[in-house]
Symmetry: C2
Subunit: 182 residues, 2 copies
DNA sequence: CCACACAATTGAACGTCGTTCAATATATTA
DNA sequence: TAATATATTGAACGACGTTCAATTGTGTGG
């Protein structure tokens, strides 16, 4: 419940204007209780970002369920759609960084891995069987590729540079890579 | 001088721990003077990030000056080298966002464009003359591609996913794209 | 039903932050 | 020098993350 309200708040005002005190006010608890439950501001943010990852994975899987042809294009579109539809929550995933040395909790790593594994599966299905072993590395790289396009879309860089169709550009790059294995 | 010290501070402690008051203390002025000069915290950050962009462009051009073959590989390597060598300052370029609606100052836009133009030039030189008109769009997209790889390198995503050579992966993706024009 | 132990919850207090602005100091001009 | 313009100051304000002694709530054994 605290996490849900935190997620709502970060979706409304963004990471920079997010505040643990405001979450406490909204859920009707005192600031002290928030700290008893999460331990610190950073852990609270991690919990909220974890919820964003859950929703992202769910949206991705929902989209892929109803897709037979062009599954990769559907996945990329779902990636963009979620980021654009939840701009602030999505941006918070990358605006926030743990202090140096602090390890990322395993529960959080697992969520990132889960999303990646969906992509690995789709990439593996999109290339000839002989190249299947390269799917994980290719998936990582194409994830970074799509991420870069998505990031430049949301932070204004693409608008500044006159890019009108970032989604198409991302899809082009993915197809460029896949063309090498055909 | 204020900007230089701010850049130094952000390079040391990162965007999250940066403070205008600390800059004031370090340069020997009061906090009020910082605000008289820059108007707001956001404008101060923009000035500091602008300096980072200046240094980045300079490093890129320096590298390309001494390269004849593999100029694109040199540019990508310079991109990564700067980001890794100035992790906090580089990350601050993307951690910071102006409030919604606030326009990015022209002086700042010009710095972003200047870096992009170097890339456009190199891409144009790397593809057959018949495709030159596509160089700007391709350059934007490949910038996003390299950015994504660089970002995942520095924020720990690639380490989490087991990617051992992100620079090589980025170069692969760029070559995948260029292969389409040969 | 009471007394006691344990857990949950509170919010005042602290130091720091961005921000403002009347007061003060310094420089320039007449 | 006197008057004007410009630069600089730092106390004050509200909000933030964080802590922790005090308080309230819950349950259990007698």
């Amino acid at each position: 419940m605290i996490v849900a309200e935190g997620h709502r708040q970060i979706g409304e005002v963004g990471f920079a204007r997010f505040s643990a005190r405001e979450v406490a006010k909204r859920v009707g608890y005192s600031i002290g209780t928030i700290y008893n439950v999460f331990g610190s501001y950073d852990q609270l943010i991690l919990a909220i970002n974890g919820r964003t990852l859950d929703l992202w994975l769910a949206a991705l899987e929902r989209r892929l369920d109803g897709a037979s042809e062009n599954r990769l294009a559907a996945a990329i579109d779902a990636y963009f759609s979620f980021a654009i539809g939840h701009r602030h929550a999505w941006a918070a995933l990358y605006d926030f960084r743990l202090p140096e040395g602090e390890p990322i909790p395993e529960y959080y790593q697992a969520k990132v891995t889960a999303i990646t594994e969906v992509v690995v599966r789709e990439i593996a299905a999109a290339i000839p069987p002989a190249h299947r072993t390269k799917a994980p590395a290719l998936a990582r790289s194409l994830l970074a590729t799509v991420h870069g396009h998505c990031f430049f879309t949301l932070n204004g860089t693409f608008r500044l540079l006159g890019e009108a169709d970032p989604l198409a550009a991302a899809l082009d790059r993915v197809n460029d890579a896949l063309a090498r294995y055909r």
